[in-house]
Symmetry: D2
Subunit: 368 residues, 4 copies
């Protein structure tokens, strides 16, 4: 598959950055799930560029639900949301000059020159707006089941936020819910924004790391081999442009640990059931959730569009050239990528739960 | 899907650690690919435990090709290889005591007590032997096309190997080809083996990082969104038990870089075509191969089976207990995981190439 | 999967009969295929109701291509076409009364009352307009390769057309190309239309049989087991509302034949290659095309909407009631279903050819 | 996909007629389903050739369960069953001469001469033995839920059996359960067997029609478009070699009916719920089950292998030749195909129920 993803649920994306609109279709939904326009609006607003730290492209992101909703609830047939493209300046883009670290050259190799190159075309991060919109009802449905997803910026341009408080995930996740610039520690936002502004002023950009926690996930989701929870989440998250690394729990730090340090001791939980004393495995053992919080970290590379001159080629003429980075761009997309990671995390968990508990499950409240 | 994976090619695994046999089926293969028993044997030997640094379980891994090969070549119908389970000691395993960081408890949550718990059952790393066997002809076919895959141990228990030599990937990859303990730097093997032996002597285990390079991959493979090359490779590699992190190119180091540092300048190549001066993107832009080497790093957690007493629970009685780690085990599996990562990398690339160039392509020599 | 279908190509449908619009997304297309608005228009016109023999609902079917086309050609990313819903009269539909042989009751069982019941909702035959639009470029691409698809009404309400002329498939198929009421024999149209008008006047409806021929299909498409060409075509065609039977070649007549009558003798073809003297197998042996014309017949049930009073139930009140068939409807849909069958046939063959010959193949002219 | 099929459940077939063994893997099963060796044995015995009416090839069909069963129940991980190939006479087959209506020539076109041609290779009907074995536990699980599947020979070589008694499906289905030659009417077996023997004596073969009824299926299974129940069942059944037609309910007879004749009146059922007075729709409306019996008819062509001389070609030499039909064969396979149709019907329904009700459902008794 290609622009279609999923198992019990199926997510399809379409559109190009400078075409008339973008859109997404979500199939396999339970009938009777609430679809809140406010919730979709709020999710889109977290992804929109704002203030000096973002692209000058203003995306109002009006959206239209054109399929799968009746009387404010899902019908069970495909949910499709369209988002018109408004403020495009196609003249900014010149075809032939490959912007370094962009998909210009690879798109040419794959599509032989037929690609819509304007604004990144189908490769544009703009596609994630449609994805975000269509996944908002999934996040709402999961929340009713007690599955809460939260992502903060753990690091950006050398500045670090504190990690999730292992004793109060719920509070930390709640604090991130409607926060445009999602950090946990006092002062982290200011320091990071300053770093973005510095980069922007220099015509440069910065990368970062997002950290995601999910609580309330029932134990027993995922598969022992090819559809491990790690496999499914990583597949989804690595589809986001600019993501270049994904780790769970201790992740790459496992390399320096011994088994006796790394293993999570298990204890009878005071509230019944079992829990682990540490969570180095990030809530997943043998590919399957164990009921502890899922912990995932995602590396986001610096926005490739910069205004500093760069060496590159014109792939039509076959010549070395210098580019100065046309088009509008963001000095950082880490904060905007957060809701996309949240949305894809919601999609994967909703997909696994639908497969596990059947197609009506998502419309039902807490069942576990 | 679950134990079935792929698009144009499909890989299915079956069997349990202490059942009569394990096996794998590979469907969608080109007719006329050579299937070399020696090559399968060599791949399995790289995965087998050897010497003091491995489990005492001796797996001779005799294999039988039972489908899809005729006169030494693939027929184009499913290739199935079976590997009997020989040296099993089921009495070593007691059901109910959850080994920390193992799948015992999650399997119980998912399978309600019907799981075959002996030796890890279907969760056992042993399943990867069948996967390795069935992917060996894919690696051979890719090599005939000039696609060379090599993986070394970049780090293990605090000891590091040098990275791939960016000027001589071909030589480094060739040096790893038949090396049981795959490192690039003189002395790295000795230091790492010593570290494994120390851990083993202490009843403990160590984790590590594998680094994979692939050269000769044609530009233009992969998809802009859900089936980015990163998504497909990560999906495959995260299915391997013990893998907890995957990154491409600069990966998590992107978090501290600026765009001007991170972007890979593009130049006209002296041999024709284009190349990048650095390879921070690990050969992939916008989810699509750019013709540069693919670079992937995989974090492997320490083997959870250790002989040191650990706090855990008996999930049948609901009581806190202490385990000392029954069964035989490895103080390290990083070196053995290498051929599994190579095999899955071969599978994903062969899958993408078959989708791109059609079902006969893999049986043909270099076409690009 | 559900509203998503395919392998190398993927077709997704969305929308409801009385929602703002319907749409379809086609993914996996070769870059560089021509997309002709005229061709899409012509296909939609063959599906539109016309004259006295059709529903009074007038569907102008303006369409908008919103993704996947640039400078008149496919980009290789998803092709999405939207068709707004215009002339809807939702008040015609009363919820609770199950129209016999419609999906009202089964939709209620599946969607628990959340379904959009207006005009049949997602179950409406109207969805096939989007499917028809998005498949038109596939039919054009296949024609450039010499693959010609034609369907005529073999039987309708007791009236029969002649079968395809086995010596001149090309001429018969060409004659059907732009014919709104697709029959081969002189006088068949008049007799069938009279039958439809009689049924319409009586408030009743009629069913029929469509016969499809495809010439120019390369030998060697399809799979020996689960993706036999028959399996793939039948899967697609049985998704069309009202289709209740599919057969290939001699089909159900095989029941009364002996092997010596049924087997198709093979001979060296005067033009090179091989051909069969008869074509009882409808161009498919062992699930795989043999190069002879594919022959498929599709049974279409009478339109369930009739004006004659019928016994039924109100599933909300649980009472027996009588319905007189609300809403507008067609006394026959057989002729309109023809382009849908053509479109799905094109989709399945294009999917199989893309899988077999790779993703660029469809944009290329005759290659075989 | 190719030799892999399904959605929530996945069925993979492997092996060739004259290889060491054939096998099948079923993934996605609920943990805790009973796996009865007797039941598998009984199913295989219904497929085995017996007496004068079958091939002289004696297939004892010893089977081995090698994965997915522990203590007599499914573990929830892949179920794999192997069946060794015993009595093969490969020398009977000469490569190059295309047996008419067989897959010899199409296999050559697809696999370029690399196919295992001995005994039909992967195209052999023998593959259905593995399929039958692995689906037996599904049929048992469905029966515990009250879903009963039965198939009889409606027609064979011009002789007809009576249709199912619409008032006593349960009794008719039960009577077919262990009957090797499955007919409903007294005397039908004798007349049909005589017809087979006549054909066999003449070196010829006969075709027929199988009629399948399924009772106890919950309403609300299936999807409105691409995964209609008709689509899923037809896809599965058309994968069986020799099947050339599938129809549901009135099927092709709809062509001569009016809507007022064809529509099934709905009434409140005396036992609660709703039922239809006729069942022309074969238990399916809008692609979704309505709770009435599913009725499917399958056309099976005469066995292509006959001893009567036939015109054909040698595709290696490119010459016209005459074949007399080498190898052993059946004058009829209709009766043996019945358990294969039953097995695939069970697979499709189990797949739809697992998707609808979740992965644990199949291990539970009647839930609806």
């Amino acid at each position: 598959m290609k622009n279609v993803f999923g198992g019990a649920l199926t997510l399809t994306l379409f559109g190009e950055s400078h075409g008339p609109m973008i859109g997404a279709t979500l199939d396999g939904l339970a009938p009777g799930m609430e679809v809140s326009g406010d919730s979709i609006r709020a999710a889109l607003d977290l992804r929109r560029p704002r203030g000096k730290i973002s692209t000058a492209r203003r995306e109002a992101d009006p959206f239209e639900i054109v399929s799968g909703v009746f009387n404010g609830k899902t019908t069970g047939t495909p949910l499709t949301i369209l988002i018109p493209n408004g403020d495009t300046k196609s003249a900014d883009y010149r075809y032939g000059t490959a912007r370094p670290s962009h998909a210009d050259l690879t798109a040419y190799c794959k599509y032989h020159g037929f690609e819509d190159y304007r604004g990144g075309g189908h490769f544009s991060g703009r596609l994630t707006a449609a994805l975000t919109a269509v996944c908002a009802p999934l996040r709402d449905a999961l929340e009713k089941k007690g599955v809460m997803i939260g992502t903060h910026i753990l690091a950006l341009g050398g500045v670090r936020d504190r990690a999730f408080d292992e004793d109060r995930y719920d509070r930390d996740i709640a604090s991130l819910r409607n926060r445009y610039f999602p950090v946990l520690e006092d002062g982290a936002e200011e320091a990071m924004v300053r770093r973005i502004e510095e980069a922007g002023a220099a015509g440069d950009s910065v990368g970062g790391i997002l950290e995601t926690a999910v609580i309330g996930v029932p134990a027993g989701l995922g598969e022992p081999f090819f559809d491990s929870v790690e496999s499914c989440l990583a597949h989804a998250v690595f589809s986001v442009p600019a993501v270049k690394g994904v780790e769970f729990g201790a992740g790459f730090r496992f390399a320096d640990m011994t088994g006796s340090e790394a293993n999570d001791p298990i204890r009878v939980s005071p509230e019944g059931g079992f829990q682990t004393e540490t969570n180095h495995n990030g809530g997943i053992n043998g590919g399957i959730t164990n009921g502890m919080p899922i912990l995932m970290r995602t590396a986001v590379k610096p926005t490739p569009s910069i205004r500093i001159p760069q060496d590159t080629v014109n792939f039509l003429t076959g010549e070395n050239v210098t580019t100065e980075g046309g088009g509008r761009h963001d000095p950082a997309v880490v904060h905007r990528a957060r809701i996309v990671v949240d949305s894809l995390t919601a999609f994967v968990l909703a997909d696994l739960m639908t497969g596990r508990f059947g197609t009506d499950d998502l419309a039902q409240g807490r069942t576990i």
